[in-house]
């Protein structure tokens, strides 16, 4: 079983695995993991689109950086405040550089699952390529026997 992606959420991560014949979603909430399986043979479509979570998270990160820094600046020594501000800014820059988050909808014959299959929008192509590589190829229809080429016909006596 190969790990495909992992998206962190407030209550626990959602991890996707590529198994031999199915896509496995391990949804951890607290100390319990619930599993959902989508068999490749039943898969109909996967759609991944960017969402707006990044802006919400950047806002929370900005608050978590600025408020403690302002409190720390009230003290006579400003070293810890500057360190906190610098760390928070670097964290936000790194988070912003990774681009927007993404949500996915996976439709199968039996059901549909919506969740972060690719944690970031820029990972969508790679994730879909990995899923596509596991999909069973449809059987080709039996083809008619090939007609003899003109060169062969000329060579015949």
């Amino acid at each position: 079983m190969t790990r495909l992606s992992r998206a962190h959420r407030w209550l626990g991560p959602l991890t996707w695995y590529l198994a031999d014949d199915h896509l496995l979603a391990a949804d951890q909430v607290g100390f319990t993991v619930r599993y959902r399986r989508v068999f490749y043979a039943d898969l109909r479509s996967v759609v991944i689109w960017p969402d707006q979570q990044l802006w919400v998270r950047l806002g929370i990160e900005a608050l978590a950086t600025l408020l403690p820094a302002l409190i720390l600046f009230l003290f006579p020594w400003h070293g810890p405040a500057k360190a906190w501000l610098g760390t928070g800014t670097l964290w936000m820059l790194a988070d912003g550089a990774r681009g927007p988050n993404a949500t996915a909808r996976i439709d199968s014959v039996h059901s549909a699952i919506q969740g972060p299959l690719a944690p970031r929008w820029r990972d969508a192509e790679r994730i879909l390529a990995a899923v596509e590589a596991r999909l069973p190829r449809p059987a080709l229809p039996p083809s008619a026997p090939a007609a003899p080429s003109a060169a062969v016909e000329v060579a015949q006596p």
């Binding site: 100390f31 479509s45 759609v47 949500t103 879909l128 899923v131 596509e132």
Partner: protein, 194 residues
Amino acid sequence: MAVPCPQCGQALAQSVASDEREGARRTECAYCGKPSWMLVRSAAAPPAGERAAAALGGAATCFFHSEHEASQACSHCGRFVCALCDLTLGAEHSCPTCFEQQLRAGAMASLRQRDVLYDSIALWAGLGWILVYFTWIFALPAVGYLSIAKWRAPRQYVVPRGRWRYAVAWLGILFPIGVVAAVILIPAMARGAR
């Protein structure tokens, strides 16, 4: 096959249905213009089910259908089964009886719907007492019980895990004992040296 746009709900995959293309590709909704990556499979007919071949003279027959030729042996009990009775899960072949037994016992990882992470509970108990120090007395038996009774659990999850969480939990539980021992022993050793 029409795939709705996740943003506006309009049909996103009109072009896919028309030109019969498959595979991952980036697209934009014709109505709202929002981008998305999509992987669409054509709605091909599902593969026809296996048919059990009739047994010829001398051929091994299915345990459950004496008129069918055996195609596999059950991975658990070894009974010969025909293509009709052969239940395949990953690399394993099961006969219907073994399949039902294992399903009831919850022994088949590939069919399990949920797991309880006992090693994570032990880890939180082993380190969480630091927040409320007097809960150490409850955390000690909890970590002891989980690390012994559920020692094998992390290896049997659908996605197996290592057992390092138990080790870290024990380190957290034994840390105050080590501190107390050091506080008592170091002065005693120093006195002994004098």
